[in-house]
């Protein structure tokens, strides 16, 4: 299978993720879409790693996963706290910074 197909898939996943972040209101869904974008990036890293025959890309993917895991911890905590204070997980309700 041509490595180009992996890149296409990664582009598709990234687009879906970006659209989700920009369009969805539910914080959980937005969060999941962020994860989707990160993993799309991971997919391209691994695909190119395979294409070039060295392991740099794969090592990079591990780093991304670690960061993503840490991000999940912090992000979910924020979302839970937000929900507790506002009884809603909509990102549009968190608008205290508005002038």
């Amino acid at each position: 299978m041509s490595p180009a197909n992996y890149v296409y898939l990664a582009a598709l996943l990234f687009t879906i993720g970006a659209a989700g972040v920009l369009l969805r209101r539910n914080a959980i869904v937005v969060f999941m879409c962020v994860e989707l974008m990160l993993n799309a990036a991971n997919l391209t890293l691994i695909a190119f790693s395979r294409m070039h025959g060295n392991l740099d890309g794969q090592i990079m993917a591990f780093f991304v996963m670690v960061v993503a895991a840490a991000e999940v911890v912090v992000g979910l905590a924020i979302i839970v706290m937000l929900y507790r204070s506002r009884h809603s997980a909509s990102v549009d309700d968190a608008n205290l910074m508005k002038l």
């Binding site: 920009l22 369009l23 990102v91 549009d92 968190a94 608008n95 205290l96 508005k98 002038l99």
Partner: protein, 648 residues
């Protein structure tokens, strides 16, 4: 000998300092001190004069350098004096007439509690005027010029409790400022043109400068002279200046102040000689003022204001003569000196009349005073004969020369100027005869009551009717007042003949002012005859109107010209309409422009930015997704731009 020149200025200046700073301890002797120092200055002047006579004509000028005032690289201003024949003439006139006026003031101001201060101001006036005529550069002359303006302001407004006096002082000061600005600009121009403002380099190099520059300097000097000498268009202050005590009027009109303009033009003769256009302007100003002052003098019932109009007119003669160039300078100064004698005498006489009449100034309230004030009558009468140019008296010689020189200008100009001067002589005879008859002849009008009539509701009741004073009891003034009048009367009679004898005055001034004989189109005898005819016509007309029939105690309404002349030929109305109203409109339009255009532009810019930022603020709507979109969009644009640049 040179060191004495400083004493001339120093003596009255010391007097002013002592009298003004001295305090009440000097109240009893202050006036004697002031008079003594003025007299000392005159004595020093006389000593220098006789010393000067002992030397040859070209060797008479003396210089005295006191100290460097502003020594800067390329700019030198010195306090240095130059005493030549022209300055000497002025020094003798200023100190001589000035001293007599000091003596007179001792009597005139006897009951004024601020007499010490008055003498301090008089001394200051003399010192400033002496500085003006003795300076050897235009900058020091300017100092004296301003000093004269200051002293005149203080003296005109001496009775400051009267609002009219305070206003008159302010008016004189402000009108003079216009002229002062002219002198300042003239000095600036001299410095840029000649690199100096000392008399010697400026006047010696005047021939090398371009005519345009000389004309500009000349016109600015003329403006300055107009302010100080009360020439049209800056004449309006002179009539109001009569609010000052009468000795001040005598001083301003005879010895100091108004003669400064004539001095300035004569001194700057070399500049005017190279600028015919400026000379023409001088002549025109002189001729216009000569008629203007004479017409005003005819209509005034206030004796001092009638004399003020006369001064304006006589100074017009001098300016006219000075504008004729080397033909006329000597005659201008000669008329100035004779005028100094008779005008001082006339003013002191008027003061003596007022002194005996409870300060009444309206000539319609006088009449028949010759019986009560014989000395005043005789001295005033001699001054009167001198000013109208009665053959043999001083005014006859000096005025006749000017009329002759005016005809000698040549061509149509000569005929016009000569005609104007001749007409002026007739009007002079008319208004002075009117003053003489109304004051000293006719019935005794001060005995009759005067109340506002339906015909002239604006007439003020006489002082006696107002209840301020009892009916006046005319009496002769004390000796301290009459003696100066007698001395001045002798001068008025004799000065002209002495000056004319062997052309001594012209020869005396010739090294400074140069002299050329004019070429009148008609012979001197014809001019003299015409002058005498004009004199007879003027006197006759006045006698027909005022001598033959009784003078009404209330002025008749008069024709249009008379009413205009009573209002000083509408000079104040003109100034008000053109300068005051015009200035107000200018200010208003400038304020409007400032508010609407300048402030509008500034405020408009601010409002535009405010509005724009208000719009921009809406972008910050607080929705995280919107920010995410802008970040995403920005990243997309950056990447697209990078790729595009790569591809290209």
């Amino acid at each position: 000998m040179e060191s004495l020149i400083g004493v001339l200025v120093g003596a009255p200046l010391l007097g002013a300092a002592v009298l003004l700073c001295g305090g009440k301890a000097l109240d009893r002797a202050g006036h004697w001190l002031g008079t003594l120092l003025a007299a000392a200055s005159f004595v020093v002047g006389a000593v220098l004069f006789f010393g000067m006579l002992g030397r040859a004509g070209d060797d008479r000028a003396m210089h005295s350098h006191l100290w460097s005032w502003i020594p800067v690289d390329g700019f030198r201003a010195d306090v240095a004096f130059q005493l030549d024949q022209l300055s000497m003439t002025f020094v003798l006139l200023i100190t001589g007439v000035g001293t007599l006026i000091h003596v007179y003031s001792i009597g005139y101001m006897e009951h004024d509690e601020r007499r010490r201060r008055f003498f301090g101001y008089l001394n200051l006036f003399l010192a400033a005027m002496l500085l003006l005529v003795l300076a050897d550069n235009f900058l020091l002359l300017y100092v004296g010029w301003e000093g004269v303006g200051l002293a005149s302001y203080l003296l005109i407004g001496f009775w400051q409790h009267k609002p009219s006096a305070a206003t008159a002082a302010k008016k004189a000061f402000l009108v003079n400022r216009v002229g002062d600005a002219g002198l300042a600009i003239a000095i600036f121009l001299m410095f840029t043109t000649f690199g100096s403002f000392a008399f010697a380099p400026v006047l010696a190099n005047a021939g090398d400068a371009s005519e345009g520059k000389l004309t500009a300097i000349g016109l600015m000097l003329l403006l300055a002279a107009c302010g100080k000498s009360a020439q049209v268009p800056l004449q309006s202050w002179l009539g109001d200046a009569m609010e000052g005590p009468t000795p001040v009027s005598a001083l301003i009109h005879a010895a100091t102040m108004v003669t400064a303009g004539v001095y300035l033009i004569t001194r700057s003769g070399a500049i005017f000689n190279g600028a015919p256009d400026a000379q023409l302007a001088v002549v025109v100003v002189g001729a216009v003022t000569l008629l203007f002052g004479a017409i005003v003098g005819c209509a005034k019932d206030d004796i001092k204001k009638a004399l003020a109009g006369s001064t304006m007119s006589q100074i017009g003669y001098m300016i006219l003569a000075a504008g004729l160039g080397p033909v006329g300078y000597a005659f201008a100064i000669m008329h100035l000196v004779t005028h100094g004698f008779f005008k001082a005498g006339l003013f002191l006489g008027a003061g003596s009349v007022m002194h005996g009449m409870n300060d009444e100034v309206d000539m319609r309230r006088y009449g028949g005073l010759r019986k009560y004030m014989p000395v005043t009558f005789v001295t005033f009468g001699l001054g009167y004969l001198a000013i109208i140019g009665f053959p043999g008296l001083s005014g006859f010689f000096s005025k006749d020369q000017i009329i002759e020189a005016a005809f000698g200008k040549g061509g149509t100009q000569g005929w016009i100027l000569g005609g104007v001067a001749l007409l002026g002589a007739a009007i002079t005879a008319y208004y002075m005869t009117r003053v003489m008859i109304m004051t000293f002849f006719g019935e005794e009008r001060w005995r009759t009551e005067r109340t506002p009539s339906p015909d002239r509701p604006d007439v003020e009741p006489a002082a006696s009717v107002r209840g301020e004073h009892a009916e006046p009891h005319p009496h002769e003034s004390p000796g301290v007042m009459t003696i100066p009048m007698i001395v001045l009367a002798i001068g008025s009679v004799a000065a002209g003949a002495v000056f004319k004898l062997g052309d001594s005055f012209v020869n005396w001034l010739e090294p400074v002012t140069q002299f050329e004989h004019g070429h009148p189109p008609v012979s001197a005898t014809v001019v003299t005859t015409a002058t005498i005819v004009a004199l007879v016509i003027g006197v006759g007309a006045a006698w027909l109107q005022y001598g033959r029939r009784p003078v009404p105690a209330v002025a008749p309404r008069g024709n249009l010209l008379t009413r205009a002349a009573r209002r000083d030929l509408l000079q104040d109305d003109f100034n008000h309409a053109v300068l005051v109203t015009g200035g107000t409109h200018l200010t208003r339009s400038l304020v409007y422009t400032d508010n609407k255009v300048v402030d509008g532009a500034v405020n408009g810019t601010a409002a535009a930015f405010g509005g724009l930022s208000g719009r921009l603020r809406r972008v910050q709507n607080g929705f995280a997704r919107t920010y995410a979109v802008s970040m995403f969009g920005g990243a997309a644009v950056l990447i697209a731009a990078t790729l595009l640049m790569r591809a290209v």
